[in-house]
Amino acid sequence: MTNPILPAPFTDLAPLAAHWARPSENERSEIRWSASADDFKALYEAMMPRLDDILALLSQHPATDMPEEVRNLFLLACAFAEASPHHELYRGSSAVPYSFDARRFVRTDGDVAL
């Protein structure tokens, strides 16, 4: 995937967006399930220090209507929002420890693109 365009000052996050940012929860889940502890760590270390700034930018845009570069950042932030517990709480495991098989757990409307 070619690197998506991102708004300044977040253009350097484009390679992460290429890997993680997808418009539907089911697509993002597939990526998360195949991630390694190092993948989660790299995403976390790139995003967490800038999370407040990212949220401040996203606060200026309505949830339903964003310019393309903002939408790419939004989708990366969504992927981070779903991935951060794997680094913070689950020691880098792609599965929630001691849990049910996430692949059997269906987001009923999870193919709907954001």
Binding site: E25, Y44, M48, L51, D52, L55, A56, L57, L58, S59, Q60, H61, P62, A63, M66, V70, F74, A77, C78, F80, A81, E82, S84, P85, E88, L89, Y90, V96, P97, Y98, S99, F100, A102, R104, F105, V106, R107, T108, D109, L114
Partner: protein
């Protein structure tokens, strides 16, 4: 609205202490026979699922005239069409063509959503057309039927009523109670909250290889939280499961707690929601008899609406920004259950709010993955015949009460 003028004192008769519960429901172990015995399941279908009021939709899922939802309910051998008619009223029908029995609205999976643009649904077999309020409107080559009483061939209606925007049906030809009567004090306890404002829904489902009551009971107590959720809710301190209430076939209780050790990302997302007017904790919006002292450490109300529905009312006080969440447990057969869990939020206005909701939803989904991990093992354990009884502590009284209610219905 049912809460008009109602105060917490009006529901004081539902309140029970732990001592009251022990006295009223007993302290003995409870038999697992109703979980293990397939013959009991057949009785449950006839005496519970075809007799009681069952939640099947919300009014805000079907906001426009012509919006419909079809639910496949194996427990009643039924495909149910819930549709908003031209007059704005939501009705329920058997999704069965009165010609020869074909499904009128084709379905995929357990739930199918759609919209009828001309206020009609048309059977794809021979083109019989029904109005969304039921009557048979047209039949191709009608003159070639030697006899056809089309006035009596509308869609077969199922009793349907709405409480606080939750749509319930009753399969009984003549329900013994109206929905309001059936809900009783439960309806009063939970009414008055603006449920319909929380139209953002994150919906999950899974088919579990267990009896429906194993899944239901696992979500009916707070005793498991410090153990099973050590991963997703770390350091959950000072959990207090109290304010027990008994209301006929229904029951409720309250989870208070100091909360958990908040991870840095959760803190960032939570503070963005908790400082936004539409997502912040709103203990003031809780119905008067839920958290009557308006304690700041209120997390959510944990009820059981018999037989198979749970509304966890949080009003933003528990999981950040979450208005409420629901569970429902639909038997597919004796040993298979469709579980449906839905997290409800008020709609995000900004992209940042939406990201924060995604995070809170993911944390809660992950907690549900921890919950569901036990269910198939529990059912296998019970089916092995190793134990004949469940040992139940005070905070598992919803299970004790539901098991007793089940026995009462089966004996009727």
């Amino acid at each position: 609205m049912m809460t008009t003028g109602m105060t917490a004192a009006d529901l004081a008769h539902t309140a029970r202490s732990s001592e009251d519960i022990r006295h009223e429901l007993g302290v003995d172990p409870v038999s697992v026979r109703s979980i293990r015995d397939p013959a009991i399941y057949e009785l449950e279908r006839e005496k519970i699922f075809k007799k009681t009021w069952l939640k099947v939709a919300t009014s805000w899922e079907l906001p426009k005239v012509g919006d419909y939802k079809v639910k496949e309910l194996a427990v009643a051998n039924a495909s149910v069409l819930i549709v908003r008619g031209k007059d704005g009223q939501i009705r329920a029908f058997h999704n069965v063509c009165t010609h020869r029995g074909n499904k009128v609205v084709p379905t995929t999976g357990f739930e199918t959503f759609g919209r009828s643009r001309a206020n009609v649904v048309t059977c794809r077999f021979h083109g019989w057309v029904f109005s969304t309020d039921g009557p048979l409107r047209s039949v191709p080559m009608k003159e070639r039927f030697g006899k056809l009483d089309s006035a009596c061939l509308g869609l077969r209606e199922i009793h349907c009523d709405i409480w606080e925007g939750f749509v319930f049906i009753n399969f009984d030809a003549e329900p013994a109670q109206s929905l309001t009567e059936y809900l009783g004090d439960f309806g009063k306890l939970f009414s008055g909250y603006p449920y319909e404002e929380s139209t953002t829904a994150f919906r999950y489902s899974t088919v579990l290889n267990c009896n429906w009551k194993v899944a239901h009971y696992a979500f009916s107590e707070g005793y498991h939280v410090p153990t099973i959720h050590a991963g997703s809710l770390p350091g959950f301190q000072g959990i207090e499961h109290t304010d027990f209430k008994l209301m006929g076939p229904h029951a409720s209780s309250t989870i208070y707690g100091a909360g958990m050790d908040t991870a840095p990302s959760t803190l960032a997302f939570a503070s963005m929601l908790s400082t936004t007017e539409r997502h912040r904790p709103r203990p003031d919006q809780l119905p008067p008899a839920i958290n009557p002292e308006r304690r700041a450490d209120f997390q959510f109300e944990l009820p059981n609406l018999f037989p198979n529905f749970i509304i966890h009312l949080a009003s933003g006080c528990g999981y950040p920004g979450m208005s409420f969440f629901t569970h429902q447990f639909w038997p597919l057969d004796h040993g298979r259950t469709l579980w449906e869990g839905i997290n409800y939020f008020r709609p995000a206005q900004t992209a940042a709010e939406q990201v924060a909701q995604q995070h809170v939803n993911a944390l809660h989904r992950n907690a549900w993955l921890e919950d569901t991990a036990t269910m198939e093992d529990t059912f296998s354990g019970i089916m092995s015949g190793t134990i004949d009884e469940m040992q139940l502590m005070d905070q598992e009284f919803l299970i004790r009460h539901a098991a007793r209610t089940l026995d009462t219905f089966l004996a009727a």
